[in-house]
C-alpha cells in the first residue's frame, strides 16, 4: 500500500462513509481508516433513519450524490410518512432499518467504490507540519499521509460508558475508545468539551408478549428517500444480488411492524427509589445530555405529573430477534434496569440482551470550524459528525458529505462548497454549528429553519441541483434528468397558474382545494412525485413567494464573502466586544456575521464599508467575488 493519499477519512460511521464516498466519487485518491471494519455504518442507537427534518436531510444527501438514502431504501424493513395529514413542507419519510443489512450494503458499496481504499487500524494521532495536518499515525505503527484529513470520531474520543456506578471505557458497547487522539487535538490548540448521550436496553423478541401491545404497521405504499426517478436502476442492489444482471430488489416489500406499549404502574416508583444510584443524578456524569432525548429518570423527575410514558418496541432487523425499546434510555444500574423492564406491560418476562447505558465523549466545539467544516486552528483538517457536537445518523451523514467534498476541493486549491441555510437543512445545521455552537448534542428540527415552507422533502434535488452540477457530485446522466425534472416542475407550475378553466385558473381551483379539477391529460401522465411538487408550489404560491422574498432580501449579505484574514481588532468603528466575537467566529460571509449574537446592524454596515473600501486587503489579496 502506498501511504500517500489525497484525502484520509478517520472513522467509518455515518459521517465517515459519506465523507469517503463523496471524496472518492470526486476522483480523489481516498483512504478510510476504521478501528473495526465489521462496524462500518453501525447504528449505535435506534434502528431507524429519517423522521422530521432528519428525513428531509437524507433526501438532501441523495440530491448531493450521497449514499444514505439509497442504502436505507434498499435495506429498510418498514416505511412511514410522518405528518401525512399536514402540509407537504412538514411531511417527512422515516424508515425502520435492518441494522445489519444497512451495514453490509454500505460496506460493500465502500469496497466497490473506485479510488477508495479501506484499512482497519485505529488512528492514534495526527501528524502536523507548520500548523497544517499532513497525515495520521495508527496503533499498527503505520503512518499515512494525506493532503487533507477528515476526522469523524463519533463518541469514541475518550468515550466513557456508564451503567449505574459501573464505568467502561469505549465509544460503544463492545468497542474500545480512541484515547490518544484527544491529546493530538489539544496539542494543536483545538478545544475539547464533554457531551453525554444514552441508549436503551435491547431485549429478546421471543420473551415479549406482543398481545397486550398496539401494532404499528408501515405504510402500504412506502415513501422512499432516494430520488429514484433521476437515479439509475443499477443503484438498487442488495449485497447478495450485486453483480447480478437485474437487481430486482423492491423497497418496501415484506415490512415488519413496530409495537407500542407504555411504562407500567410500578415504573415511576422504581425510578424514584433508585435515583440516587443514577450517575446522572449522582453527579458522576459531567457531560450535557440532549433535552429531546431524556432518560427515563429525567422523564419521571421533570414531568412528575405525567403518570406514564409511551414506549416503542422496534425490531433491529430481519435476521435477528433483538428489539430496541425506544423511550427507555437510562443509566441506572443493571439490576434496576431488569426491574424497570419487567414493570412494563408485555415485558413482564422479557430478557435483556444488552443493557442500557449512558456514554460521555469529547467533542470539539464547532465554532472552531469554517462553514466548509475545515478547522480554523489547523489547516487541511476537517471535522464531521458527533465530534462537532451533533447527534443523529442523518446529521452526521450530511456533515460527512460536505466535509468529504470540501477536503477534495481544498486539496485542489478550489473554493469550498458552502450550503446556505436558505437552501437546505444541512445548510441550517452547519451554519448553526459554526456560528452559534451548541450546548447539547445538536439535533435538527424543522423549526430551526427560517424558511421551512421552502424545504419540503420532495424539492431537495431542485434546491441543491446547482451544487450537484457545479461540483460534479452526481453523474452527467443524472444531472440531465435532474435538470429536466426541474424544468418540468417550473413549466407546469407556470402553466397551472395561468391556464384557464371555466371556473378560474387551475391555480385558483387548487388553492380553493376543489376536487376533480380537470387537469390537462399530460399533467396526469407525470409521476406522482412531480405532480405533488407542482401542486404544492401552486397551492401554496402566496406563502412560498413570501418566504422566497425574505430569502432574496438576505441574499446580497450571504453573497458577500469576508476574508478569514480580517483583523477585526483593527476595523475602525467596531466595538471591542463585537470585534472579539467576529475574531472568534471569523464569519465566512456578511450574512453569517449578522447572525452572531451581539453584532448590530450598524456593525454590519461598517463591515460592508470596510470590505468595499478594500481596507481588509493587501494588494496581493484582492476582494473575493460574491459566491
Amino acid at each position: 500500500m502506498k501511504n500517500v493519499f489525497d484525502v484520509i477519512v478517520c472513522g467509518a460511521g455515518h459521517a465517515g462513509c459519506e465523507a469517503a464516498l463523496s471524496a472518492a466519487r470526486l476522483g480523489a485518491n481516498t483512504l478510510m481508516l476504521t478501528g473495526n471494519l465489521d462496524t462500518v455504518a453501525q447504528m449505535s442507537c435506534n434502528p431507524a433513519i429519517g423522521g422530521q427534518a432528519k428525513g428531509h436531510m437524507v433526501r438532501e444527501i441523495d440530491a448531493l450524490g450521497g449514499e444514505m438514502a439509497i442504502n436505507t431504501d434498499v435495506t429498510a424493513i418498514q416505511f412511514k410518512l410522518l405528518n401525512a395529514s399536514r402540509g407537504l413542507a412538514v411531511q417527512a419519510p422515516r424508515a425502520q432499518s435492518d441494522k445489519k443489512a444497512y451495514q453490509f450494503r454500505m460496506k460493500h458499496t465502500l469496497e466497490l467504490q473506485p479510488n477508495l481504499t479501506l484499512f482497519q487500524a485505529t488512528v492514534t494521532g495526527l501528524i502536523f507540519e507548520n500548523g497544517k495536518v499532513v497525515g495520521c499515525r495508527t496503533n499498527l505503527d503505520l503512518d499515512f499521509h494525506g493532503k487533507t484529513v477528515v476526522v469523524t470520531t463519533g463518541t469514541f474520543l475518550r468515550g466513557l460508558m456508564h451503567i449505574g456506578q459501573n464505568k467502561n471505557e469505549g465509544g460503544r458497547m463492545g468497542d474500545s475508545s480512541a484515547k490518544t487522539l484527544s491529546a493530538s487535538f489539544l496539542d494543536a490548540g483545538i478545544e475539547l468539551q464533554r457531551l453525554k448521550t444514552g441508549t436503551p436496553p435491547r431485549i429478546q423478541g421471543r420473551t415479549i408478549d406482543f398481545s397486550v401491545m398496539e401494532e404499528q404497521r408501515g405504510d402500504p405504499t412506502p415513501t422512499l428517500f432516494a430520488f429514484h426517478d433521476t437515479r439509475q436502476d443499477s443503484d438498487l442492489f442488495h449485497v447478495e444480488q450485486s453483480g447480478e444482471d437485474r437487481p430486482g430488489w423492491e423497497p418496501g416489500v415484506r415490512q415488519i411492524s413496530c409495537w407500542i406499549t407504555h411504562t407500567g404502574d410500578q415504573t415511576a416508583e422504581i425510578v424514584h427509589k433508585n435515583l440516587c444510584r443514577s450517575p446522572l443524578y449522582g453527579g458522576a456524569i459531567e457531560g450535557t445530555g440532549p433535552r429531546y432525548c431524556p432518560s427515563i429518570e429525567d422523564k419521571f423527575v421533570r414531568f412528575a405529573d405525567k403518570p406514564r410514558h409511551r414506549l416503542f418496541l422496534e425490531p433491529e432487523g430481519r435476521s435477528t430477534n433483538e428489539y430496541y425499546i425506544n423511550g427507555l434510555s437510562t443509566s441506572l444500574p443493571f439490576d434496576v434496569q431488569v426491574d424497570l423492564v419487567h414493570s412494563i406491560p408485555g415485558l413482564e418476562k422479557a430478557r435483556i440482551l444488552r443493557p442500557a447505558y449512558a456514554v460521555e465523549y469529547d467533542f470539539a466545539p464547532p465554532t472552531q470550524l469554517f462553514p466548509s467544516l475545515e478547522s480554523k486552528k489547523v489547516e487541511n483538517l476537517f471535522f464531521a459528525g458527533q465530534i462537532n457536537g451533533t447527534s443523529g445518523y442523518e446529521e452526521a451523514a450530511g456533515q460527512g458529505l460536505v466535509a468529504g467534498v470540501n477536503a477534495v476541493l481544498k486539496g485542489r486549491g478550489e473554493d469550498p462548497m458552502v450550503l446556505s441555510r436558505q437552501e437546505c437543512y444541512i445548510g441550517v445545521l452547519i451554519d448553526d454549528l459554526v456560528t452559534k455552537g451548541t450546548l447539547e448534542p445538536y439535533r435538527m428540527f424543522t423549526s430551526r429553519a427560517e424558511h421551512r415552507l421552502l424545504f419540503n422533502h420532495g424539492s431537495a434535488e431542485m434546491r441543491l441541483y446547482h451544487h450537484a452540477r457545479k461540483h460534479g457530485l452526481v453523474c452527467s446522466e443524472r444531472l440531465q434528468r435532474m435538470e429536466a425534472k426541474k424544468q418540468t416542475v417550473e413549466d407546469w407550475t407556470a402553466r397551472l397558474n395561468t391556464g384557464r378553466t371555466p371556473n378560474g385558473t387551475f391555480g385558483e381551483l387548487v388553492r380553493r382545494r376543489e376536487s376533480d379539477i380537470p387537469f390537462p391529460s399530460e399533467f396526469n401522465y407525470l409521476s406522482a412525485e412531480i405532480r405533488s411538487e407542482i401542486l404544492y408550489r401552486v397551492g401554496y404560491e402566496g406563502y412560498l413567494k413570501r418566504e422566497q422574498a425574505q430569502v432574496e432580501k438576505v441574499k446580497s449579505m450571504e453573497g458577500l464573502r469576508l476574508s478569514p484574514g480580517i483583523d477585526y481588532g483593527r476595523v475602525r468603528g467596531l466595538k471591542k466586544e463585537c470585534a472579539d466575537k467576529l475574531a472568534e467566529i471569523r464569519p465566512f460571509t456578511l450574512g453569517q456575521a449578522s447572525r452572531i449574537s451581539g453584532v448590530t446592524p450598524a456593525d454590519i454596515h461598517i463591515l460592508m464599508v470596510h470590505v468595499k473600501a478594500g481596507l481588509d486587503k493587501k494588494a496581493s489579496d484582492r476582494p473575493e467575488a460574491a459566491l
Binding site: 429531546y292 461598517i606 470590505v611 481596507l615
Partner: protein, 457 residues
C-alpha cells in the same frame, strides 16, 4: 464586483432626514427601486422633472390626503445614495412626518437603519474611497445614538411589555411547533382552540400598546379638535368663549372666517388644539370655497370634532366626504343658540352621538361641553396613567407589523389551515418584536418546547 451584487434586490428605505420634534418643515428621504413608481402613486400626477421641486398633496394608500408637500426626485445614479431617491418636504409636525413614514412602509418601504443612506451612497461609489473612514464614523455615531434612544425606551415600560409579548408568543409557538416536529410523541391531544384564543388575546394587548403610542402623541402635541358647522352657526363665538378672549373676528355676516384659526386651550387634564375653520356650505365666492376645502383637509388630520349646529335652524346638509369621518367616539354634537329657543329642546343629530346644548353668547352649557370633551379624550386612553408607555416611530411600526402578522396567523388557524403556515406568520411577528428588544434566538422557543412537553421517543 461586490457593488453590483449588493444592489441586486435592494430594498427601498425611508427615513426622516431632518431632526425629530417641532420644526417648520421636515424632510423625508426615500431611496431604492420602488421610488419611480411611488411618485405618481402618492401624488396622483406625473412625476416632476428630475431635481425640480413640485407641490402636491401627499395621499396615503387609501387615497386620503396627509399633507400638502413639496417633493423632488433624483433619478439614479445622480442622487445622494446613487439610487433613485425621492425627497418629500412636509409640514414640521412630527405627527405628519410619522404618518407619511407609516404610509411609505405600507407601500413596501422599510425604515432605514442608522447610517444606511450614507452606507449605500458609499457602496454605490457616490463617495471617494478615502471617505470610507468618515462614513464608518457616521454609521457608528448614528448607530450608537439609535442604540441609546432604544435603550432609553426599553428601560421604560415598552421593553417590559414587549418582553411579555415575546414570552407569550414563544409559549404559543412552542405549543404549535411541538405537534409539527414531534408527530410521534405522546403529547396531549392537540387543542386548536387554545392557540387561536391566545393569539387573539396577545393581539389585543399589542393593539392596546399601539394605542398608547397614539395617545402619547395626543399628550405631547395636544388633541386636535376641529369645529365644523354651517356658516354663522357660531363657531368663532364658541372658540372665543372657550379661549376666554376675542381672538377671532366675529360678525353675523356668514363666512367671516376664511382661514383656519388654531387655539390651544386647557380642557380638564388635557391641552387641546381647537381649530376653527371656514363654514361648510355648498355655494360661496372663490375664497370661501378654498377655505372650505381647507376645512376638509384639516378634517383628515383632526383627532376629534365638534359638530356645531344652530339650534334655531333645521340641520344643514354636510359635504358628502365629511359624515364618514364623524363617529360617536370622536365627535360631539353641539347645539348652539339655545338662548334663542323658547323651550330649549333641540332636535338630536345622528344616533349614538353625544348631544350638548349651549349658548356661546351667554356661556350656558359650556361646562357640559368641557366635561364631555375631557371624557372623549380620556376614552381614547387605553391604559391607566402609570401604565403609560412612550413609543417611538420605529417601535410603533414594529408593533403594527407584528400585529398584522398575528392577525394573519389567527385567521389561518381559525380556518383550520395547515399549522405551519400560521407559524410562518407568528415567526414574522416574533421577528418584529425582536426589532424592539433584540432578536430572539430559536433556542428560546426550543427551551419552552422541552420545558412544556415531555419529548423523548
Amino acid at each position: 464586483m461586490i457593488s453590483t451584487d449588493t444592489n441586486h434586490q435592494q430594498e427601498t428605505i425611508a427615513a426622516q432626514a431632518t431632526g425629530g420634534g417641532e420644526a417648520a418643515i421636515a424632510v423625508i428621504r426615500v431611496s431604492g427601486p420602488l421610488v419611480p413608481g411611488l411618485v405618481s402613486a402618492i401624488y396622483h400626477s406625473p412625476p416632476p422633472p428630475p431635481r425640480k421641486f413640485a407641490r402636491g398633496k401627499y395621499r396615503n394608500v387609501r387615497g386620503e390626503v396627509l399633507d400638502d408637500t413639496l417633493h423632488c426626485r433624483f433619478p439614479a445614479p445622480r442622487s445622494y445614495t446613487g439610487e433613485d431617491v425621492l425627497e418629500i418636504s412636509c409640514h414640521g409636525n412630527p405627527l405628519i412626518a410619522r404618518s407619511i413614514l407609516r404610509d411609505l412602509s405600507a407601500r413596501g418601504c422599510r425604515l432605514a437603519e442608522p447610517g444606511e443612506f450614507t452606507r449605500r451612497a458609499f457602496l454605490n461609489g457616490r463617495m471617494d474611497l478615502s471617505q470610507a473612514e468618515a462614513v464608518i464614523d457616521i454609521i457608528r455615531a448614528r448607530g450608537d445614538r439609535a442604540l441609546q434612544v432604544a435603550r432609553h425606551q426599553l428601560q421604560g415600560g415598552l421593553g417590559k411589555r414587549v418582553k411579555e409579548f415575546i414570552h407569550e408568543l414563544l409559549e404559543i409557538l412552542a405549543g404549535l411547533e411541538a405537534y409539527i416536529d414531534f408527530p410521534e410523541e405522546d403529547l396531549p391531544v392537540e387543542d386548536p382552540e387554545g392557540p387561536v384564543k391566545r393569539i387573539q388575546r396577545l393581539d389585543t394587548a399589542v393593539a392596546r400598546l399601539i394605542k398608547t403610542a397614539r395617545y402619547g402623541a395626543l399628550l405631547r402635541e395636544g388633541a386636535r379638535v376641529l369645529i365644523i358647522g354651517a356658516p354663522n352657526a357660531g363657531k368663532s363665538s364658541l372658540l372665543n368663549r372657550l379661549a376666554g378672549h376675542d381672538r377671532v373676528l366675529v360678525s353675523n355676516q356668514p363666512g367671516t372666517t376664511r382661514d383656519a384659526v388654531e387655539e390651544r386651550i386647557p380642557v380638564g387634564d388635557h391641552c387641546i388644539r381647537i381649530m376653527d375653520t371656514a363654514g361648510l356650505r355648498s355655494h360661496g365666492d372663490q375664497l370661501e370655497t378654498m377655505g372650505m376645502r381647507k376645512t376638509l383637509e384639516y378634517a383628515e388630520e383632526a383627532d376629534f370634532f365638534l359638530l356645531l349646529l344652530d339650534a334655531t335652524l333645521p340641520h344643514p346638509a354636510l359635504p358628502v366626504s365629511l359624515p364618514g369621518l364623524l363617529t360617536p367616539d370622536n365627535t360631539l354634537v353641539v347645539h348652539n343658540k339655545i338662548d334663542l329657543l323658547p323651550n330649549q329642546t333641540v332636535q338630536p343629530w345622528g344616533s349614538d352621538f353625544k348631544q350638548i346644548s349651549l349658548s356661546a353668547l351667554t356661556g350656558e352649557g359650556l361646562d357640559d361641553l368641557e366635561a364631555a370633551m375631557n371624557d372623549l379624550i380620556e376614552a381614547t386612553n387605553p391604559v391607566a396613567a402609570e401604565e403609560f408607555v412612550v413609543i417611538g416611530a420605529r417601535h410603533a411600526e414594529a408593533l403594527e407589523t407584528a400585529s398584522v402578522s398575528l392577525e394573519e396567523s389567527h385567521s389561518l388557524l381559525l380556518n383550520h389551515e395547515p399549522t405551519e403556515l400560521a407559524v410562518s406568520h407568528l415567526r414574522t411577528a416574533l421577528h418584529h418584536f425582536g426589532e424592539i428588544t433584540g432578536q430572539v434566538d430559536n433556542e428560546a422557543m426550543l427551551d419552552r418546547l422541552f420545558a412544556n412537553f415531555c419529548i423523548g421517543k
